[in-house]
């Protein structure tokens, strides 16, 4: 089948936002599904429109590589944020829950595989501890 970018992206995001496989992750976040957001929403928050409760999971779709014949790889990344007083302690307990939410066959028509987890380093825009976890969805046509 042709590469269905919107469906694969939505399916990946929905797992944490509302899917059964992501329920343990939502339980560990600051305010359940409300704390699962698209990454570009981070820019919208301010004093009058505060950021959802941390730990917060922000999704950003990454690059797509390959050609249709030999398959495509779609890179997907979750960014976890927490309040400064917790440093990376709570983020580090959520990461294994996210890994467990994405077994290889969780998404139709693609193999899901963990690529890696970034080092502990703050997001200087918001001065919050953050770590990212990257997956690849490999699609074969």
């Amino acid at each position: 089948m042709a590469l269905d970018i919107p469906t694969l992206t939505t399916d990946f995001y929905t797992i944490l936002k509302s899917g059964t496989a992501g329920s343990a992750v939502r339980s560990a976040l600051g305010n359940g599904a409300t704390s699962v957001i698209p990454a570009d929403m981070l820019r919208r928050y301010n004093n009058s429109n505060p950021m959802p409760a941390r730990v917060l999971a922000a999704f950003r779709g990454g690059i797509i590589t390959g050609n249709g014949r030999d398959g495509n790889d779609m890179f997907m990344r979750w960014w976890l944020y927490d309040d400064e007083q917790y440093q990376y302690n709570r983020i580090n307990t959520v990461l294994p829950l996210i890994i467990a939410a994405y077994p290889e066959s969780v998404i139709n028509h693609a193999y899901t595989k963990l690529i890696g987890i970034s080092q502990e380093a703050p997001d200087t825009t918001y001065q919050l501890p953050c770590r990212s976890i990257t997956f690849v969805l490999s699609n074969r046509q």
Partner: protein, 157 residues
């Protein structure tokens, strides 16, 4: 009872030569891969840049098998320094720090980096909105694997 003596020195010498050719092929493929990855990152549209220091200092180099990238690191750092000299748009500075990567004796790899003290922030801020090093590396990873395989095959032919 008759006995048979087999001299395997020739076989061992042949295996040594094969291993050397494979090693040369790997180096050749990785060098080509590093050039491709560096060119990819220098053309990235993930960020615009202000001083040009990040783009100018973007460097991909091979490590392992006796290579430590010291010459490439020096050149990359100098490129960042040159771009930031006299620039007053922000307070960023050229920087080089140990990668912290330690390879096993048999391992080789490619490092992609840039030499400013705000390079890490660029990869992280706003949930990686301007991240470019990871995407540049990932976008060419399979191609580089192909380079290595082809080079090894050519060396063994």
């Amino acid at each position: 009872m008759a006995s048979v003596t087999t001299d395997i020195k020739g076989v061992l010498a042949g295996l040594d030569q094969m291993m050397k050719r494979m090693s040369d092929g790997i180096d050749q493929g990785l060098n080509a891969g590093a050039n491709l990855i560096e060119a990819t990152d220098k053309e990235t549209e993930a960020y615009l840049g202000m001083s040009g220091a990040t783009r100018a200092s973007s460097t991909a180099y091979v490590i392992g098998n006796g290579k430590d990238g010291s010459a490439e690191v020096s050149a990359g750092y100098q490129a960042a320094e040159a771009a930031l000299t006299g620039f007053t748009g922000h307070e960023g500075r050229a920087q080089k720090t140990d990668s912290g990567i330690t390879l096993q004796s048999s391992e080789r790899g490619i490092i992609l980096t840039s030499f400013t003290d705000y390079a890490q922030a660029l990869e992280i801020e706003n949930a990686g909105a301007k991240a470019h090093l990871g995407p540049s590396l990932l976008s060419k990873a399979k191609v580089v694997t192909g380079f290595v395989a082809t080079s090894v095959k050519q060396k063994l032919a």
